[in-house]
Amino acid sequence: MSWGKGPRAPYPVHTAVVVNIPADNELANRAAQVRGGCGTIVTFVKISFAKPGLMPITPTRAIGPDFATRRTRGVGYGAGEVLKRLPIRQRITLIVLLTTVVVMVLTCGATFGFELVSFRKALVKQLATTSEIVALNIPGTGSDAERERAFQALSTLRAYPDFVTAAVYDLNGRLFAFYPDKAGPDGIPTTPHAIGYRFTGSVLDGFQPLHKDDRQIGTLYIKLNAWPTLSGKIVTSLQLALGVMSFVFVVAYLLSWRLQKPISGPIRRLAEAARAVSERNDFTVQAPRETDDEVGLLTDAFNQLLAQIHAQKAALDEHAIVAITDPQGRINYVNDKFCAISKYSRAELLGKDHRIVNSGSHPKEFIRELWTTIANGHVWKGEMRNRAKDGSVYWVDTTIVPFLNADGKPYQYVAIRADITQRKQFELELRELNQNLEERVLERTMQLEQVNKELEAFSYSVSHDLRAPLRHIAGYTGLLVRSDGDHLSEKGRKHLTNITHSARQMGALIDDLLVFSRMARAELKPARVALDSLVDESIESLAQESHDRRIEWIRHPLPEVEGDRAMLRQVFVNLISNAVKYSRPRDPAVIEVGATNHSDSEWTIFVRDNGVGFDMEYSHKLFGVFQRLHLDEEFEGTGIGLANVHRIVTRHGGRAWAEGKCDAGATLYFTLPKAWRNTA
């Protein structure tokens, strides 16, 4: 308990006294946290809260019970604060009554005051008149007989109400006669004062000049004690006022009670609707619109808001599985989809711990991490595997949002989920498929490697074993020429020459075939290759063949590309040797090598010669295996060279083609992609 300061400080202040009130809504409980003041006030408040007519709607994180506590924070202790806590109905009545009472009091007060003043004036006037009459009956202020006469006149005043005493003074201001004479001249002034009657407190007295034949002969003095009359009058007035006020009060009360209905009624009903919404989470409630004033506006806004929330909720329910739990995980609310997917009825779910749908498929750390995250007020997202009532499992994509109160602690968790069982199933299948695929790919790769190895062995033995007999053929033919060449006829010698040529031809074929098959099989070893250097090497390797010829080389700078060096060299060797071969009839042979950069994605390289060219009609045959467009006698060759080029270029992701004209030279083009792509 602490001591607070206020208009009537110091007084004891309780901090956070939770008032137990019979309301269902937990929130109402929280809202009733008050800083209790004097016991009376707390009690007062308690009574008013027994009718939970003004509970706020279950607030979200945005407004939170902050809203509620703000209402109860900074409780004052004056009547004004107390007033704020009354229900509207009572407040209106109270206000009307208060107004009535105040008005009444003021009115009565004013009337009464006026009355009093008038009454006193009247009394004065009356006395003045009476004193004049009495003065006429006083003959003089000299002789005893006149004294006796004066005495008689004065004594007639005894019948006058509130009469106390009267006296006559002579001309010199000396007391001449007075009545009553028994008490003596106490309470009678010794000399006359000012003319006129006046009140002094409740005593009314004054002086009246006595005249005889237009000359003053003395002064008359009369004294009254008006208190009885006055007090009587006051009492009567008060009684009257009280009576009237009571009557008016009752009338006012009845009237106000009747008249506040159209004001407080709609408000109360609006509040009822709000409470219904918050208690039952029923957003289909609509408050009745009864008036056209601000309350009507409020009702409209309320209804609209409700309709919107309801619509949003319905929209959410269309898609999502929703559950709301308390901080301990007990289920407070589930939507239809939740019931559908978990196969429990709503009754079976409400109040239960959310663990009811646990499938036990998640490790402890997973669950712990979940709770830690949300208990700290953070949103948790993840995929969970839950179990339905019949034991079947389902997957949900879950987002859990903690709703925080003013202290930043969660007071409820809203879990929004989407059914992803189907998707998970697909994922699983996909993974299986992928795995299968990978296994099959592995198998296939192994098979291919096996095949490759066999081909390797095959070509190895082919190259060796096929060459040997060929060599023998050529060899013995040569020996024959050596040993018996002279004995042979011209024809015979020619036959031998042909045999030798054929053997040589076959040898070349075998070599080319081997190269071709190697190019097809070998793995590409990508590296940055300076094409210019390959051209240099090719030209050099042909130096011997072309040493006796005039060849003009036109070299344009070639780019650096990504590719297999050995294979790309083979391309240039083939193309340039072709250029050299087919330009043999020319003197000088002009061979041009260059590159163009027309496209963003690839280089185009060309080798041009001014040789015998070819007929474009057969250009499609150029790159075929063993395809030739010339006769052996014209130009030797196996027809593999360009097939090789084509194969290598294709493996690098490029294309090859040729342009030529009979007897006007040929240009061979090929492209290489700028970005490395293995299309092996």
Binding site: Y460, S463, R471, H472, Y476, G478, L479, R482, G507
Partner: protein, 155 residues
């Protein structure tokens, strides 16, 4: 004083042997050519054992070695020769029809002196062989043997 320069030819094909001998003979390199038809025989010869026990002592000035041979192939022979203290200095020239890279790589790995692919064309073949003979048997200085000592192997 010129000792008789001996060439060891290790070759299984009779035809290849004949062609090679003819080629060597053409230039009258006046060498003795010892021929063994497989690897084991070659090693026997080099180590003066088996059939060749009691042969004329002295290593050949060059060994012409084919690769594809039955029983022991040329590369295996090369390995043995190169790992033998007494034999490792003998110049070896691979004379084979295989241009395959693995064979090339293996041969040089084992320390072969030269690798010649037998050309199909006879003229070229004869030219190559005579060049080999002229170089190793005439021009090249063979590794020294211990003066007047006879290399024997105790087997």
């Amino acid at each position: 004083m010129n000792t008789l320069k001996r060439i060891l030819l290790v070759e299984d094909s009779i035809k290849d042997i004949e062609l090679t001998l003819e080629a060597l003979d053409e230039h009258k390199l006046a060498n003795e050519v010892v021929v063994t038809r497989d690897g084991t025989q070659a090693l026997d010869y080099l180590m003066s054992r088996g059939n060749f026990t009691g042969r004329e002592p002295g290593p050949p000035v060059v060994m012409l070695l084919d690769i594809k041979m039955p029983k022991m192939n040329g590369l295996e022979v090369l390995r043995v020769v190169r790992s033998d203290e007494a034999l490792k200095k003998i110049p070896v020239v691979m004379l084979t029809s295989s241009r395959e890279e693995p064979d090339l790589a293996a041969a040089y790995e084992l320390g072969v002196n030269a690798y010649v692919v037998k050309p199909v064309d006879f003229q070229q073949f004869a030219h190559a062989v005579s060049q080999i003979g002229a170089f190793w048997a005439v021009l090249n200085e063979p590794p020294p043997t211990t003066t007047n000592a006879i290399i024997t192997h105790d087997h």
